[in-house]
Structure formats: structure tokens, C-alpha cells
């Protein structure tokens, strides 16, 4: 029995942790998002130079070829430190889509740039409110051209290209790569409450795009969402852990009624419950990491369980971190809000809890029928 990450993988996590802790002292992320930039480009290049952006990209395409478990650990640390960089859009979504569904030429063309940070990818699925669904794509692809409007596209303004979900001539849904500097593409910024994850509206009016040949139908997109959900779950676990650590630090140093508020049972029990929620989420995420690597029939349910429990734990930790900080937590400078915002951004990106609960229960029902048959 070995249900822990290998020493190599945890050593990588520690290294990322040390780097980000030193690189981003308190307030650094806040100052970045106040700057009006689309990302912290300097940090982005540093992450690329460390080889972390390309951690799970095969060596043949300019990556480090370390596998998905390493990427999970990196995701957890990014969730903890909240750096203002588009890793989730560029690596967890765009890169994985190309790695799994792209032609060799597409991989040659895009993956080395994603790994070395010279190119940023975005993932354009949503078209306004609602959850991912096969029939939801109003955007269409015909004769090499995309037409339609995608929003929100997270990191869409910073991206060089986007992987776009669109309906093809047969009425199925496929994935298409579009270079965003090309003609017939209009990008407009879209205000969101997570200032570290800026979004855009992208309008395609007959823009050139090339299909990812192996993304034949909706199931390819659903599968990509499962993979990303596991990585996003690690982000949420890291964020939840950071919010809990903040709340603990504050509660131990803040005195009221003659003792630290951490001595009050109302605070102790609140934070004990959050710790428990995080440990359950972490354990589900660990199984998710195994399922991400193994690519077997367990993956959809593992992804849904990891995502649902991580998002719940993260929001609980983020909102109670503000509560434990009292009035101080409600200030801009406290940074508590950064986790509060990110928790809800993560909970909606890739679809609502309702979508993932339906995917989970639907999957379990299908498994049951298979076993009964």
C-alpha cells in the first residue's frame, strides 16, 4: 500500500513552495492585481525557467516530462500562493487539450512555447451563463473558420491563442485552435470579481482556426474538464490550506477578553471543522491525482468528488478566514478577500457544483448498470 506522492514529487512541491513563499511576500499579489496588468509577466517567465510550466509536457515537445502527479503538486502550491499568472488556462486546459487531442504538428507548434512561457493559451468554452453542455455551443466552425462569441474566457486578453469549443458541420462539438492575433477576432476585457483571473469576451467573425483532430465529440471536452477539475481541485486544496493557516495565525495572536481568540471554543471548533473538510478534500484530490495519471474508468467520479469536496472546503475556509479576522478581514489590505474571490471563481469555472453532482451521480448509475449487466 502506497497512497502518498513519491519523494521526487513531494520534493518538487517543497521547492515550488519555497520559491513562491520567498518570491511573493505579503501584499505582493495584491500590488500586482492593483497594477492593471494582465499577468505578472516577470514571475511567469521565472516559472517557465524553473521548468514548472512544462512539468507534464513531454520532453519531445520542450517539457520536463514529469507526469501529471507533479503538475498536481504545482497546482496545490499555486493555489496556496495565488500568483498572478495564467497557469490554469494555459497549462491545465490549453496545454492538456493539445497534448491529448492535437496532431504532432500542432504539438510541435504550440507545446514548446507553452513550456517556455513564450506563448499563453486560453480555453474558450462558455457562452454566457450556464453549465457545460453539448448543445450550448452557439459558436460554429466551417471551412476552417470560427464564428461566434465566447465569454467569459479567463486569461483571454493575455493569451496568444485559444482552444475553442465549437459546433462543426455535423452538429457535433469539437475543439479548435485559433491564434488570437489573427484578423476577424475581437477581444474585450470583462470585469470579474477574481482580480487575479481576468477574463475577456472573444468574438470570432470568420476567424481562421484549425481543429484538434482527436477531439471528435463532446466526450473529449467532458474528459478534458475531468482532467482540469482534478488540477483545479489541487488549487482549491492549496487555497483552503492557506486560508486556514491565515485564520490560525491571526486567532493565535489576536487577544480579546484577556486571551487569544484561538482559545475560544467557537473559534476552535470552526477551524477544526475546516481542517477536517480540507483533509477529506485532500484525500479525494490524491485519488484524483492517481486517476489523472492512470486514465481509467474511475476518473470521472474521482474528478467530481475531488472537485466538489475541494471547492466546498475552500469556500468554507475562505469565508471563515474573513470571519475570524473580524473587521480587519473586511479590509482590502488584509488579503483575506483574495482567497474568498478565488474560491468562488474556481467553483464556477468548469461548471457549477450542480453540473458536477449530476456528472458524478450519472457516472455512478452507469457504473452500476455495467456491474449489473
Amino acid at each position: 500500500m502506497n497512497f502518498e506522492f513519491s519523494e521526487d514529487v513531494t520534493a518538487m512541491r517543497d521547492e515550488v513552495n519555497r520559491f513562491l513563499t520567498n518570491r511573493l511576500p505579503t501584499g505582493a499579489v495584491r500590488h500586482q492585481i492593483e497594477s492593471g496588468a494582465m499577468l505578472d509577466r516577470e514571475l511567469w517567465q521565472e516559472l517557465a525557467a524553473m521548468g514548472w510550466l512544462g512539468a507534464s509536457i513531454p520532453e519531445a515537445y520542450g517539457g520536463a516530462g514529469l507526469g501529471h502527479e507533479t503538475l498536481c503538486m504545482i497546482a496545490e502550491e499555486l493555489g496556496r500562493a495565488l500568483p498572478f499568472v495564467p497557469v490554469s488556462s494555459s497549462i491545465f486546459l490549453a496545454s492538456l487539450a493539445i497534448q491529448d487531442y492535437g496532431s504532432d504538428a500542432q504539438k510541435q507548434a504550440y507545446l514548446p512555447g507553452l513550456a517556455d512561457g513564450s506563448r499563453i493559451g486560453a480555453f474558450a468554452l462558455a457562452e454566457g451563463n450556464g453549465d457545460p453542455a453539448p448543445e450550448s455551443a452557439g459558436t460554429s466552425f466551417a471551412a476552417g473558420r470560427l464564428t461566434g462569441k465566447k465569454h467569459p474566457v479567463f486569461d483571454g486578453a493575455a493569451a496568444d491563442f485559444a482552444v475553442v469549443a465549437a459546433r462543426n458541420a455535423d452538429g457535433g462539438t469539437g475543439l479548435y485552435i485559433a491564434d488570437l492575433a489573427a484578423p476577424a477576432i475581437l477581444r474585450e476585457p470583462l470585469a470579474t470579481f477574481d482580480l487575479g483571473r481576468p477574463a475577456a469576451v472573444i468574438t470570432f467573425t470568420g476567424a481562421a482556426a484549425s481543429p484538434l483532430p482527436l477531439a471528435g465529440d463532446w466526450s473529449a471536452i467532458a474528459r478534458l474538464l475531468d482532467q482540469a477539475a482534478i488540477l483545479f481541485a489541487f488549487e482549491a486544496v492549496g487555497g483552503a490550506q492557506a486560508a486556514l493557516a491565515m485564520a490560525l495565525d491571526y486567532a493565535k495572536s489576536r487577544y480579546a477578553f484577556g486571551r487569544p481568540i484561538a482559545a475560544l471554543q467557537a473559534i476552535k471548533h470552526k477551524l477544526a471543522d475546516i481542517y477536517v473538510a480540507i483533509e477529506l478534500a485532500r484525500s479525494n484530490a490524491y485519488f484524483g491525482a492517481w486517476a489523472l495519471q492512470a486514465d481509467g474508468p474511475e476518473r470521472p467520479a474521482a474528478a467530481a468528488a475531488a472537485r466538489l469536496s475541494a471547492n466546498d472546503a475552500f469556500f468554507e475556509a475562505a469565508k471563515e478566514n474573513i470571519q475570524v479576522h473580524g473587521g480587519m478581514g473586511f479590509t482590502w489590505e488584509s488579503d483575506c478577500h483574495l482567497y474568498y474571490r478565488r474560491a468562488k471563481q474556481l467553483a464556477g469555472n468548469l461548471g457549477s457544483a450542480r453540473y458536477w453532482r449530476n456528472r458524478l451521480i450519472g457516472r455512478l448509475l452507469a457504473q452500476n448498470e455495467t456491474e449489473a449487466a
Binding site: M1, N2, F3, E4, F5, S6, E69, L248, A251, K252, R259, P260, A262, A263, Q265, I267, K268, H269, L271, A272, D273, Y275, V276, E279, L280, A281, S283, N284, Y286, F287, A289, W290, Q293, A301, A304, A305, L308, S309, D312, R354, W356, R357, N358, L360, I361, L364, L365, N368
Partner: protein, 410 residues
């Protein structure tokens, strides 16, 4: 990550399977029983015989030293055997308190003569043990116990009342903690004893629980005479002995038994709401997804703990998490199972209520699971203090003599 056994573990698992298939009947879908009931005398006799069979074959006392009949093995072996035994129809286990807790404590805190006298009969199922710990006025605050032990020559005279004692009505021996000195602060005045339950003055009464069943007893001790040779550890060291014993308890992960995700999922597939399977209802799905996430999370927490054990490390606070989460989950699942049945939810007739009225029974015993073996509140304190390093609770009685501590009516 790798879910398979190490070569040593795999070899042991094969050994365990061979033993079980030769000595017990494998469970089938039909052999499932739902109801939790009190042990009958037949259950006790069958349990003793099964324990003897296991001990003779070396499948009991896994981490006991060989000189006491144990295996000198690992915690992982105990876990693997339990996993395999789970697949067979075997009598209920009534030996955890003796083999798992009392005897390891006697081995580390008692005299060699005591360990020699009690080890083998416990291991072979000849003698059953119980714990005389909790009292009507000492539950979570165990150190506030009031049962008095007074020295009389070579004996101790014990008077008091113990409660929530599992198995007391068929136990031969008990681990007893009593107050030997009320003039010192509460943790300092306690002493531990080995009590022969057949001693005059020991009276056992069954407790009728809210479910109507009787799994527990109360034990009245009136002028019970215990020879000093039956004292366990030094006079006044009772709290230390109790902590040793509870540390042994923490090795066994406390997961509340009863209907779990698979069971409520099955019920939701079978029942109809508004002309559709209940499992299609989004309110039902929300609950199901939550319990799935909890059950899976606990399963993988257990695997993380086993990984630590498998590598020879001491597991952390996972047992507290499992107990805290699973008890409330059980209560919620039971309550929701009853809700799903609508107007017939309260029906307990095993002929009509699904799964022999399992959800209804669980609803009635679930409250006890959130209290026994550490209340939800104490577990949250443990997690907050030991894991999150938050300050301990204020203890107003810590440094004053026991007999000066204010006491309420209950």
C-alpha cells in the same frame, strides 16, 4: 502511488485468505444482515470459539510479543486480516477491549506475573474483558470520576458506580479506574485495578437505550474487595495507565457502522418520487454527492493512514477525523433514508420498511455514535489542540484538590 500490497503484505494476505477459507464461510449477497442487536449468549459462545481458532492459528494478537502467544507482527497485518475477515460470516468481535486494549496495557504497565496470568486466556477467547471507566458524573471529563478505592490492609475497598460498559454482563474481568486519594488534584489521585467481575459487591444491570436494545451496562460496586496484587501500576498513577490504554485504542480507526453512501444510493434508485426514480431528483442528488465525497474522503484518509503504518510511521489524527465525520454522516443518512419514504418513514415493521427497517434502526442508534468513544465536541477540541496547536480549554479544576472542586447536581 500504488494500491497493491508490498511482497510481505501480499504473502500475509495469502496466508490469511487460506486460513479464512479453510475455517469460515464466505459472505454472499443473501447473507447480509442489516439490524444491529445486542449479543445473545449463543453469539458469545460462538465468538469465543472463533477467537480460539484464530489464536491457535496465529491470527490474533498481531502486535503482541511472541512470549504471550502473539505474532510479534505489524499493525498492517492486523488491518489486512480485518479486511479479509470482513468477507466472511464470522461471529461478532467481543475481544477488542481485552486483546486490543487491556492486555497491551497490562504488558506495559503491569507486573510480569499479571501479564503471564491474563494474556493467554484473553488471546484464546476464554476470558472476556470490559472497561470500568465512565461514570454518571464523569464522561468526557473522565478524570473527574468519583468511585472510591480505600486501602484496607492488603486489600482495597471499592465503592461507586460505573456506566456505559459494553459487554459487562458476560465479562470475566474489568479494567477499573478509581479514586484512591481525593485530597490531591484530580489527575493525581487515581489508581488502576484489575477486577474479577465475580467478586461479591459487583452488580451489573443492562441499560435500555433509546433504540430499545441493550448494548451497554451500568455496574454498581458496593464494598468490593480487591487484593493489592491486582493493582495495575503505582498508586496514584491511574491517569498514566488510562492514557496508555487510550493510546492503544487510537490504533483502531473508529468508523461508525451502519447505512453508508452505497445503501442510501441503492434506496434512492429503488424509490419513486413524482413518478421518477428518487435518484433523478436534484435535491436527492445534492445529498448523495455530499455523502459520496465524505465516504470516499474517509476511505482515502484510511489509505493514507495505512501507508504511514506500512512505512513504519505512527499515524496522525486520522482516527479522530474518521470518528467525527462518520458518526454525523450516519445520522444524516439514516434521517434522509427515513425522509425518502415520506408518509411511511416512521414505519419500523421489518416486513415493509426497506432493508429490515435498517434506516429507522440507524436513526435511533446514531445519536450514541456521536457520543461514545469521544463526543463530537471533544474530538473537535482534540483536533484544534493537537493538530492545529490552538490553546487548551480553560480548566478551572486542574490545580485544586479533587474534594474542593465544585460539583453540580449531575
Amino acid at each position: 502511488m500504488d494500491f497493491s500490497d508490498t511482497p510481505d503484505e501480499a504473502a500475509f494476505r495469502a496466508e490469511a485468505r487460506a486460513f479464512l477459507s479453510a475455517n469460515a464461510v464466505r459472505k454472499s449477497a443473501q447473507s447480509r444482515t442489516y439490524r444491529s442487536r445486542a449479543f445473545t449468549p449463543e453469539d458469545v459462545a460462538l465468538s469465543k470459539a472463533w477467537q480460539a481458532t484464530k489464536a491457535a492459528a496465529g491470527f490474533a494478537g498481531f502486535h503482541w510479543p511472541k512470549k504471550y502467544g502473539g505474532r510479534d507482527g505489524t499493525q498492517m497485518q492486523a488491518i489486512i486480516f480485518a479486511q479479509e475477515e470482513e468477507n466472511y460470516l464470522v461471529p461478532p468481535g467481543i475481544f477488542n477491549q481485552g486483546v486490543g486494549m487491556a492486555l497491551p496495557t497490562i504488558m506495559s504497565c503491569g507486573t510480569p506475573a499479571q501479564a503471564n496470568r491474563y494474556a493467554r486466556p484473553a488471546l484464546f477467547g476464554e476470558e472476556v474483558w470490559c472497561q470500568l471507566f465512565s461514570e454518571p458524573a464523569a464522561g468526557s471529563d473522565l478524570a473527574g470520576l468519583r468511585t472510591r478505592a480505600t486501602r484496607e490492609g492488603d486489600d482495597w475497598l471499592v465503592n461507586g458506580q460505573k456506566v456505559w460498559t459494553s459487554n459487562a454482563h458476560f465479562s470475566q474481568f474489568a479494567m477499573l479506574i478509581a479514586r484512591s486519594n481525593p485530597d490531591v488534584p484530580k489527575h493525581q489521585g487515581l489508581t488502576f485495578f484489575i477486577l474479577d467481575m465475580a467478586t461479591p459487591g459487583v452488580e451489573v444491570r443492562r441499560i435500555k437505550q433509546i433504540s430499545g436494545t441493550s448494548n451497554f451496562c451500568e455496574v454498581f460496586l458496593t464494598d468490593v474487595r480487591i487484593p493489592d496484587s491486582q493493582r495495575l501500576g503505582a498508586i496514584g498513577d491511574g491517569w498514566k495507565v488510562a492514557m496508555t490504554m487510550l493510546a492503544n485504542e487510537r490504533h483502531t480507526v473508529g468508523q461508525a457502522e451502519g447505512p453508508d453512501f452505497d445503501d442510501i444510493f441503492r434506496l434512492a434508485k429503488q424509490l419513486t418520487l413524482d413518478g421518477q426514480p428518487a435518484v433523478n431528483d436534484s435535491a436527492v442528488r445534492e445529498k448523495l454527492a455530499t455523502w459520496y465525497c465524505q465516504s470516499q474522503g474517509l476511505k482515502y484518509i484510511r489509505l493514507r493512514m495505512q501507508t504511514a503504518l506500512s512505512r513504519g510511521k505512527t499515524p496522525g489524527p486520522e482516527a479522530s477525523i474518521a470518528k467525527l465525520v462518520s458518526a454525523s454522516k450516519l445520522q444524516d443518512i439514516a434521517a434522509f433514508g427515513v425522509d425518502l419514504l415520506g408518509q411511511a418513514g416512521a414505519v419500523m415493521d421489518p416486513e415493509t420498511a426497506p432493508y429490515d427497517a435498517w434506516f429507522q434502526h440507524a436513526l435511533l442508534y446514531a445519536p450514541g455514535k456521536r457520543i461514545a468513544g469521544g463526543t463530537d465536541e471533544i474530538l473537535r477540541n482534540i483536533i484544534a489542540e493537537r493538530v492545529l496547536k490552538m490553546p487548551p480549554e480553560l480548566r478551572l479544576d486542574k490545580d485544586i484538590p479533587f474534594n474542593k472542586i465544585p460539583a453540580g447536581l449531575r
